[in-house]
């Protein structure tokens, strides 16, 4: 090798590596912020299911807000420092935005923080105008969810850009981090869809149609974008692990409802039901994608992954839902199938031990639609995954 070429390569590697290290703290900070936000969201939902009454200053709210602020403020600092005092290398690994410079992920975190801040007065007005909401999905909560989603997405892009620029062992480490953030990304979707994924709905067409919109997209994207062989599997595993740990841990704390009417006299915190078994379709998607990504045209691969997602997801979710709904052995701390909110009346409890016959009407047609949706979702996910591999700044 020409000595001159070697010198240039060494220089280039050194520059890239130092740039990576100088902004790596920000990627890690954003990941911590995303963890705070998502754990806070879970805790807050559990708080509403068990205690009901809250203020702006509940620990769960503080965790969400501090997560938003950590991401927003650290990104704002990075933007100001890069713009005003950044080295040439730092400025050249940032994107311009309204006269300032920072990595794309930082801008998304700042946008998310602003969306969360905007949702606060909007949500307060909403409560005063329409009453305290008992539903997760409302316009101000959607804005808040978009903000939270952006914090997680910003953390994902910051780690993704680092992964894409890194070499060797650092690349492997960052690939793992990307997959972990991917788990938080999936958790975002899963929590937002809670009202459509109650265990009695898991034998119904609507649930699979809605699940097919979101989860094949996320799993296919992470499978392709992560540099790890089992990126989607690690992401889905992270999602399930975080959800299960929170489900088991938060239940250990005593709680009594502070709002009424109370139809369930609970003595401890109530948590969300057992998480969706996304790890099963994730394993299938990772395995198939690694095998066929370079051999099949994109659309054919998407059709394959979409179909496999639905088949494997139904294969695991259907019998497990039967167990959760119909088997009294599931009504304990471990399986959490007796997690009734304090306002659940006796009629709801009785209904929760059977699958809704209305939900399973025209199941074949709904599953056919879900298969089509899963294929489209997979195609979009694969395309997004390809874009993610290209993010450098």
């Amino acid at each position: 090798m020409n000595p001159m070429t070697l010198a240039i390569d060494t220089q280039s590697t050194y520059t890239a590596s130092s740039t990576t290290r100088s902004s790596l703290w920000h990627a890690y900070t954003a990941v911590v912020a995303a963890v705070c936000v998502m754990v806070g969201v879970y805790w807050d939902i559990s708080w509403h299911m068990s205690i009901g009454r809250d203020t702006f200053w509940t620990p769960a709210h503080l965790l969400i807000q501090s997560g938003g602020l950590i991401a927003g403020v650290s990104s704002g600092y990075v933007a100001l420092r890069t713009t005003l005092r950044g080295s040439e290398a730092e400025r050249e690994s940032a994107v311009p935005f309204w006269g300032f410079r920072a990595p794309l992920g930082a801008w998304i975190c700042i946008w998310g923080c602003l969306a969360m801040l905007t949702s606060a007065p909007f949500d307060n007005w909403w409560h005063n105008a329409y009453g305290l909401d008992v539903k997760i999905v409302s316009p101000p909560h959607t804005l808040l969810a978009l903000g939270i989603f952006s914090i997680v997405l910003g953390a994902l892009l910051l780690t993704m850009a680092q992964q894409n620029r890194a070499r060797d062992a650092e690349r492997v480490r960052l690939a793992l981090l990307v997959s972990v953030v991917g788990g938080l990304f999936i958790m975002n979707f899963a929590i937002f869809l809670t009202e459509y994924s109650e265990r009695m709905m898991l034998h119904g067409g609507l649930f699979y149609e809605i699940a097919a919109v979101f989860f094949p997209f996320a799993l296919c994207a992470f499978s392709r974008a992560g540099q790890h062989r089992w990126s989607a599997t690690i992401a889905a595993g992270t999602f399930m692990t975080v959800m299960l740990v929170l489900m088991w841990f938060i239940q250990l704390f005593p709680a009594t409802p502070r709002l009424g009417p109370i139809y369930q006299h609970i003595g401890h915190m109530v948590t969300l039901s057992w998480p969706l078994w996304l790890i099963v379709p994730a394993v299938a998607i990772d395995w198939l994608r690694a095998r066929y990504d370079s051999r099949l045209p994109s659309l054919a691969l998407a059709a394959l992954l979409g179909a496999v997602f639905l088949i494997t997801f139904i294969a695991v979710e259907w019998p497990f839902a039967t167990f959760l709904v119909e088997n009294p052995a599931a009504r304990n701390w471990f399986f959490n199938a007796a997690n009734y909110v304090y306002w659940a009346g006796s009629a709801y409890v009785a209904r929760s031990h059977h699958f809704s016959s209305a939900a399973s009407r025209q199941l074949g047609m709904h599953l056919a639609i879900a298969a089509g949706v899963a294929m489209i979702s997979s195609a979009v996910g694969l395309a997004w995954g390809r874009w993610l591999t290209k993010v450098r700044r």
Binding site: T15, A16, T19, G52, R53, A89, E92, S93, V95, P96, F97, W98, P103, L104, W107, I108, W111, L114, A115, L117, T118, P121, F122, W125, N128, A129, Y130, G131, L132, V134, S138, P139, T142, L157, A161, R165, T256, P257, R258, L259, G260, P261, I262, Y263, W343, S346, W387, K390, V391, R392, R393
Partner: protein, 501 residues
């Protein structure tokens, strides 16, 4: 976002009838065990919402006040633990607290007073209904509009950066082709984003429309007058209002299944308080006494077995009375007063037979939103106090209507609450309910079992000549006040005009 805001800014607060009309606040004077209390509950305009509770101990010795919201279906067993009401700085023996009313329908605030004489609980029935929607303040609307525009512009800039600069290797310059592509993708994102904002606005509109449907509208009954023999009867039916107009199972309040008030349109000169009988679940009928022909506003108070206190409002045009028109119920009372005295120190309204209803209050102005004691003494032509007899189990009844009919309220010496609604909650706490929380009533004659409910005469001791009604006028304006008492064998009505600042 702008579109959303403009749609929302157009919203205004609407306050309509619930129990009573235009007067949602509850005023209660009564005992919590050994302590006399005045309780004011200001229910929220939205459900779930926060009710404000103000408790004034009229006896000394109260050291602690606990308030607790009890829902009709769940009873005390399903109520959260009570909250301690905090003493109000600068106001003697006054406590204030807030309670969440989470469900629609009949609630009671249980007020427990504690002190050296022990503790006792008062039951204060409250209707929990959505009565309006909050509009945007210009400041909040502007703030949200600016933030919305920044968020949308930021989103487009993010798309531009994501499609362009973020994909360039650090150190490399962005190529013209990539720059062009980023611009094209950003332009393509504009309609997508517009569609999302439009979809969000439509969603908001549909949520708002759903909410508007939950706003409480009291059933508007259909009124008709029929001739039966040599008498005329006024019939009130909720049938045309359909399922939404159904009032539920009605139970007697002060021994009457319905209290029907007629107020004439000609400057409120004629007033009648009648007591219809129930023909079926949707129809009530009363024999018309000799009252003048003309247009009348009709207000009908009923209490349902859930403890809900409802006022049905309508209008009716009455024909000239029959020559031999007479009331079928000795508790019916009516009056015609072309000239009415204004409430002022020593003002007196004639009750007939030389008796007068004399205002016993001072000359202090009556202010909206402030508690006021409407206190009167009945005197004979010689100025002596006349001992009253109980009228429907109480020393007196009062009715207040605003000159524009936007406020109507039926008061008792214990305030705006219904004793029957209190008793419903007591029965429920005793466990006299079915699994769904309904009272265990017979089905053939819905009213019959409740007719055995004892009437609660507030003071077992003989009544004097004084009667008072605690109230809080909801807004300034000109009001008419009718006070009904029984100084002898007949019910008499005294009428005053009240100016509220």
């Amino acid at each position: 976002m702008k579109r959303i805001l403009s749609a929302a800014v157009a919203g205004v607060i609407m306050v309509i009838a619930s129990a009573h009309v235009g007067s949602p606040d509850v005023v209660y004077d009564g005992n919590a065990g050994p302590y006399a209390l005045r309780v004011i509950v200001r229910p929220p305009p939205v459900v779930p919402g926060l009710a404000e509770v103000i408790v004034r101990a009229l006896d000394s010795g109260v050291t602690r006040v606990v308030i607790r919201p009890v829902y009709w279906r769940a009873g005390v067993a399903g109520a959260p633990e009570g909250d301690e009401a905090k003493p109000v700085a600068g106001a003697l023996s006054t406590y204030r607290g807030q309670l969440w009313l989470m469900a629609r329908g009949a609630y009671s605030v249980y007020v427990t007073a504690e002190g050296p004489k022990g503790s006792g609980t008062a039951i204060v029935p409250v209707m929990s209904v959505a009565t309006g929607r909050l509009g945007f303040s210009p400041l909040l609307a502007s703030l949200l509009a600016v933030l919305g525009v920044v968020l949308i512009a930021g989103l487009l800039s993010l798309v531009h950066a994501a499609a362009g600069a973020s994909l360039v290797e650090p150190g490399d310059a962005i190529s013209p082709a990539r720059r062009q592509r980023a611009r094209r993708i950003t332009v393509a994102a504009v309609p997508v984003l517009a569609l999302m904002v439009f979809g969000g606005a439509r969603w908001w509109q549909s949520v708002d429309a759903d909410y508007q449907r939950t706003i409480f509208h009291p059933p508007t009954p259909t009124m008709s007058v029929h001739r039966v023999g040599d008498q005329q009867v006024l019939e009130l039916s909720t049938r045309a209002a359909g399922a939404r107009g159904a009032v539920g199972d009605v139970i007697p309040d002060h021994g009457k299944i319905m209290h029907l008030f007629l107020i004439s349109d000609d400057g409120m000169t004629t007033f009648a308080h009648l007591h219809p009988a129930q023909l079926d679940s949707e129809t009530f009928r009363v024999q018309l006494p000799s009252i003048a022909a003309g247009s009348y506003h009709v207000f009908a108070d009923v209490v349902t077995e859930t403890g809900s206190n409802l006022t049905l409002a309508s209008t009716v045009k009455l024909p000239p009375p029959m020559p031999r028109a007479e009331s079928a119920d000795s508790d019916d009372a009516w009056t015609r007063t072309p000239t009415v005295p204004r409430l002022a120190p020593a003002a007196a309204a004639p009750l007939g037979d030389g008796a007068m209803l004399v205002w016993a209050g001072d000359g202090a102005p009556i202010v909206a939103g402030q508690p006021v004691e409407l206190r009167f003494i009945v005197r004979d032509s010689a100025g002596r106090e006349v001992a009253l007899r109980p009228y429907l189990g109480m020393a007196g009844h009062a009715v207040i209507a605003r000159s524009d009919d936007s406020v109507f309220v039926h008061l008792h010496p214990m305030g705006t609450v219904s004793t029957t609604a209190q008793q419903v909650f007591e029965l429920r706490d005793r466990g006299d309910t079915t699994r769904s929380g309904r009272l265990r009533l017979g089905t053939a004659q819905p009213a019959a079992p409740m007719a055995t409910m004892p009437l609660r005469i507030r003071d077992a001791a003989p009544l004097g000549g004084a009667v008072s009604f605690p109230y809080e006028f909801p807004k300034p304006g000109r009001y008419r006040l009718w006070v009904q008492v029984k100084p002898g064998n007949h019910v008499r009505t005294g009428t005053f005009d009240v100016i509220v600042n």
